[in-house]
Amino acid sequence: MIYLDAAATTLQKPPEVRRAVMKAIETMASPGRGSHRPAMLAADTAFACRQAAAELFQVKEPDHVVFTLNATHGLNIAIHSVVHPGDTVLISGYEHNAVTRTLAALDGVTVKIAAAPLFKPDAMLRAFDRAFTKEVSAVVCTHVSNVFGYELPIADIAALCQQHQVPLIVDASQSAGCLPVHMDELGAAFIAMPGHKGLFGPQGTGLLLCGDVPAQPLLMGGTGSISAIQEMPEFLPDRLEAGTQNIAGIAGLLEGIHFIQRHGTAWILEHERSLAARAASRLSGYGVHTFVSPGMAWQIGVLSFQVTGMDCEAVAEQLGDRGIAVRAGLHCAPLAHRSAGTYTSGTVRASFSPFNTERDADTLARTVAAL
């Protein structure tokens, strides 16, 4: 199997991840729920993961690193903390349903879209600037489009938010692990990310990095702290972590973060991007339409393409039959497809990881050409 669906979930993980998960299942209980060794081992692991994430993402304190189920969970917490009925929220035209559906479910919220063509970061920034009217009380923006690998000018958008003193929520689902994501530089209210994509953790893990905006819990329950009080604790991370944590997943996530720290995001980005560029070049040579930023300047290792005369789902199915895993359709991001003009047709998406090779990219292109 050639796995090219890392933008959904990385299948190949560093071997340390699996070992850590197994060890956690065999030796660890629940952090904060006892002084016995299994509980304290779990507590040490959770804290080590918070510390590693705080270091990688430049979060001021490990307390502000909250464990979630996935990026969607984190985005829901962030949006419910910042957005209130009657608010006007500004988003990019490349958001995932994790953002758009969550906003749509809130009563009386007006959503403004900063619309700009694909791979045009200057145009995107101008669109944000134009749409930044005085009614806007929050901004939600993806760092990288999950469909096209398009990196949005998040630092400039963050600066715009600071200028207008409006809280920013960043969806770092595709950037965490391959691009610098720095909480202190962006000054974001929240940054949400999955653990199971570029951080190489198991499914069911995610991180929510919290700034100074008060956070509202989605779940209430036991936290192992101030148990006699019936309100959720005011302090992080307890406020947002009701119930038993996924300690086996967190143990794996910790090793995934260590892998990134060892290799560096710059190397990971370069590796993945070069494979996407190689696949795009080969596919173009076979007459396949690819969505590529000039020089891959604003694109990570995610490549969308369309095969003339074939339904994108049929392409993905036939590639799957031939041992190549890709994803097709709207990728849970209809807004991004509308922005790029691919809503009607959808696209096929190949997304690369550090475990892919040039041979994988070449095989993809050759196999598509032979369909």
Binding site: P31, D63, S225, I226, P237, D238
Partner: protein, 84 residues
């Protein structure tokens, strides 16, 4: 053995406290605080030896990790709050 318990608002806060102390060469063990001294229910504490408390307080003040309260163990196993 007489020791002090530095009461912290949460497990993570206690872990941060212990980590800072450890970096300063002061051993501190994270543990659940005794029920008899946790008015609001479960909380965590960092246990430090009697002679290390002054140094620990200096380190914690410097790093802005303020303890909620500090207790001293009595010879009969009970706890007495210490004024900071």
């Amino acid at each position: 053995m007489i020791y002090y318990l530095i009461i912290c608002r949460s497990l993570t806060y206690a872990q941060r406290t212990a980590a800072v102390l450890e970096r300063a060469g002061i051993p501190g063990r994270v543990m659940r605080a005794p029920k008899s001294i946790t008015g609001e229910g479960c909380t965590h504490a960092v246990k430090v030896s009697e002679r290390k408390l002054p140094d620990a307080l200096v380190v914690l003040r410097r790093t802005d990790l303020t303890p909620s309260r500090i207790y001293l163990t009595e010879s009969d196993g009970s706890y007495r709050e210490v004024d900071l």
